[in-house]
Symmetry: C2
Subunit: 352 residues, 2 copies
Amino acid sequence: MKRYGVIMAGGGGTRFWPLSRKSLPKQFLNLTGKDIMVNETIDRLTEVILKEDFFIVTNQAHADLTFLMAAGRLQKDHILAEPAARNTAACIGYAAMEIVRKFGDGVMCIFPSDHYIRNTDAFARTIEKAAELAEETGKLITIGIKPTYPATGYGYIRKKKHSGMEVQEFVEKPDLETAKQYLSSGSYLWNSGMFVWKASVILDHFRELLPDIYACLEKIGAAMKTPKEQQVIAKIYPTIPKISIDYGIMERAHDVLVLDGDFGWDDVGSWETLDALYKPDANGNVIRGEHIGVDTKNCISYSDGKLIATVGVSDLVIVETKDAVLVCDKKRAQDVRKIVETLEEQGKTEYL
Amino acid sequence: MKRYGVIMAGGGGTRFWPLSRKSLPKQFLNLTGKDIMVNETIDRLTEVILKEDFFIVTNQAHADLTFLMAAGRLQKDHILAEPAARNTAACIGYAAMEIVRKFGDGVMCIFPSDHYIRNTDAFARTIEKAAELAEETGKLITIGIKPTYPATGYGYIRKKKHSGMEVQEFVEKPDLETAKQYLSSGSYLWNSGMFVWKASVILDHFRELLPDIYACLEKIGAAMKTPKEQQVIAKIYPTIPKISIDYGIMERAHDVLVLDGDFGWDDVGSWETLDALYKPDANGNVIRGEHIGVDTKNCISYSDGKLIATVGVSDLVIVETKDAVLVCDKKRAQDVRKIVETLEEQGKTEYL
């Protein structure tokens, strides 16, 4: 069965402000120094899925940019433009309908656009196995990540006892104590948000578990390959109920399997995650661009051009871009979105 | 007797990096929002000393800039250019010789170029009194500052017991415990580095206490008003022994009087002193330029153009200029010079 990649690239990118902007969200950033994240997501899977068989679902405002930055990897009609952000269930349902209506059926391999993967060979093998499993079993396959520390920033997947792949339950982000128990128990995996299944199978689940969304998807599907396609999408898509695929389907379906992923995975969620992507220097600092430090420890210094000089500081994220400078406690990197919110409140749109 | 102002503006300005540069040291910065510091030094004394009777002693490299930025306050021949920095004794001796040889004699009122004074009326009255006293008594008058906190960054002047103005001794920068004792004793004043005396009187002290320097000054003096003046200065000045006026004369002379200064004085020594110049906002922050803060306390944020955004930080100095960003623990602001030293070592002259 034909395989398709689906990259969810609809993020607003507030957590990498001031580098990420409304016009240039995280998926377009080159944080690893090789290529922008959305392209790396395609390129690391060439052995498993053909480049031209990827779809990128993104905000309408970023559709042209996505196509341009994909630099010939895929055709323009493989950019699926969302007229409005309606969370991951809508995004995945739209892609599934596209595949079923335009290509018959296929195995969909779904990836967020903001993952960093160290061991791409192991990763490709895992996705290959998941695709085979999805085709053979007709089940919903999710990729779990073997935890390496008691993370409180991820949801977890609990496996059934004495079972290789069956899922007991999905659990929310834990507190530190609970995360430590999860880590030592050996039966919990991080929920990576990567899914593999047949397009027709996930649509069946929409019909059963999310009938309101399915009704919308049916209308959109009916218009596909007709002159009214874009018009119907523009009208219907913004009315799709907002719900995540985890909450809407994964936590409720009874035919979910999980594969253990062990390939050096990081969710590039906000600035402090650069610590995991780069090897910090002897002082624990991660430096991009020019930097001079006096008594500077465990800082992330990211410069777009200017020299960043630091004296007597530690555990800071410092980012300089063309029009803004961020200085943030590393533990508070998630709260960079509060800066973006404040800018919106104050109408300082030039910085958004 | 005619009065002259002498402003010592020879500083290299490393402590206000990255705003101050080799080509633009601290005395040319407008940190108070009114005018550059060297001009403010002239303008706050118009009731006591005529603008055109000021001299500015500065590094030869900054002589033209000093004249331009003085914006008509004084004639070009009142900029005394030092071919080399030889500390304050040389600087003051040169100015004294200039006054004696070219104008007969006069009361010299000597000021560093980096002081902030809140109550300029009280300041002018103090200098007026000092000038009268210097003329009447022929003694060396120094301005002491009534301490408002146990400062460890200033030298102190101890007054004789039961004496209004007589000096017991000059003492070095104390540790905190000692500074607290000085503060509570009531007989210690901060050594401000402002001096008032007759030019002829200080030259007598050079002859007696610093004969090597006096010999150099005599050679320079003999060439003044001759075509060889600049040539002799260029040759002799760099050979003058480097010593401060405090160490060379003030601490050894027996005819020193001190006036109590109480006019809201701050030495604008490094970035953290901006806290004293500006009223911090409700969160203790001093902001110049655009800034957005989330949970930000007791920071100094100085922007030359870009937005500075801060999250979860406190007690930092953050400075953004055209080509550099500084992030510094406020307690370590003195160590900004180490950045400058590192830049010199690394040959990154474009940032100096």
